[in-house]
């Protein structure tokens, strides 16, 4: 930098500070540090002698299996209800009583049955399900296993008066 400029500008940058700024700086900084300081302890306490008497409970108790709550789906509810009704019906038919089956059946609401199922652990096996819905499953299997060719479908549609209109609209 040229000597001329150095002389003109000198090392004084021209900046100044408010009067007494550096004298009061320490106090302001101190206050700010205190305001920014957080206690090391979070303030939580434990009951007296807690750590002294602490022992792991699982060592003193017999281990238990994990309890998994059975949440029945709507389908399972219906199946379970059918099994229960079937069971009650059988019992009712084998053991004659003064009331009729219809009376007994009508007196038990669906909600009561579902509540009873919820409160009692009832296991419904796959074979139970198949037994109850055997007819429905058979029909579904029939449809899935059938081989329909284009000709069969067209002739079916042509035979049906309701679908004929739809076909005409497409062609």
């Amino acid at each position: 930098m040229t000597d001329n400029f150095k002389h003109k500008a000198s090392k004084n940058s021209g900046f100044t500070v408010p009067k007494g700024y550096f004298d009061s700086f320490d106090e302001e900084l101190d206050a700010k540090i205190r305001a920014h300081s957080f206690p090391k302890s979070p303030g939580f306490n434990t009951p007296e002698g807690y750590f002294k008497n602490f022992k792991i409970e699982s060592e003193t108790k017999t281990p238990k299996g994990k309890l998994i709550q059975l949440r029945l789906s709507r389908f399972k509810h219906a199946a379970a209800a059918a099994i229960v009704i079937g069971f009650i019906s059988t019992f009712y038919l084998l053991v004659p009583s003064s009331g009729s089956y219809d009376q007994l059946y009508n007196n038990i609401s669906e909600q009561e049955i579902e509540l009873w199922i919820d409160q009692n652990e009832i296991e419904i096996s796959s074979s139970d399900m198949v037994a109850i819905y055997a007819d429905d499953l058979t029909e579904a299997t029939d449809v899935l296993e059938s081989n329909f060719n284009e000709q069969t479908i067209t002739s079916y549609l042509q035979e049906s008066s309701e679908t004929k209109i739809v076909i005409d609209e497409f062609y």
Partner: protein, 182 residues
């Protein structure tokens, strides 16, 4: 053991920390203030940055490993705090850092705490045209008269790169002043 090592030991010991920190603040507040002021230009902003710098020093003094001089370590914190402050303010106002510097230097003429003459104002305007790191190097070398070794330790930049940076800075400043004073 040197005075600085004694001070560091006291700063890192719980029972002596408060007293040693007061001593540290007293010893360095003015030097750090002027270092920061040259970067951020406005007194109130400088005050904020200086306080933040000392708060950082207070909180992190336990992590100081004596790998550099305490003075260099504090200068580095002050420099980083100043740059962070400027970048944050520029972002808040949705302007670039260069634009921020230009606005800040333009407002100097009306700044109550700037009593520089015309040539000093032009010098500040010239510095504001430099890239941020060149500004810092120029200020540290020209105004604060720090040695290249010291600047190198503070900015973690080689002496050669600093010399080149300062050389470029002075050339640009001279050119700027030539165009604005004749």
């Amino acid at each position: 053991m040197t005075d600085e090592l004694v001070l560091i030991k006291e700063l890192q010991h719980t029972s002596t920390k408060e007293k040693a920190f007061k001593q540290l603040v007293n010893q360095y507040k003015e030097r750090l203030y002027w270092h920061i002021r040259k970067i951020v230009l406005v007194h109130d902003d400088t005050d904020d940055v200086l306080q933040n710098t000392f708060i950082k020093i207070y909180r992190n003094i336990d992590n100081f490993k004596n790998e550099s001089k305490l003075f260099s370590w504090m200068y580095r914190i002050a420099t980083n705090e100043s740059i962070t402050y400027i970048n944050k303010r520029a972002k808040e106002r949705d302007i670039s850092v260069d634009e921020y510097h230009q606005e800040a230097v333009t407002s100097l003429a009306d700044d109550h705490y700037f009593s520089g003459d015309y040539i000093q104002l032009v010098l500040q305007k010239a510095i504001a045209t430099l890239p941020q790191k060149q500004q810092i190097v120029f200020n540290m070398k020209y105004f604060e008269a720090l040695k290249y070794d010291q600047i190198s330790e503070i900015l973690d930049t080689s002496v050669g790169a600093l010399k080149a940076s300062y050389h470029h800075a002075t050339k640009k400043i001279e050119e700027f002043i030539k165009n604005h004073t004749d």
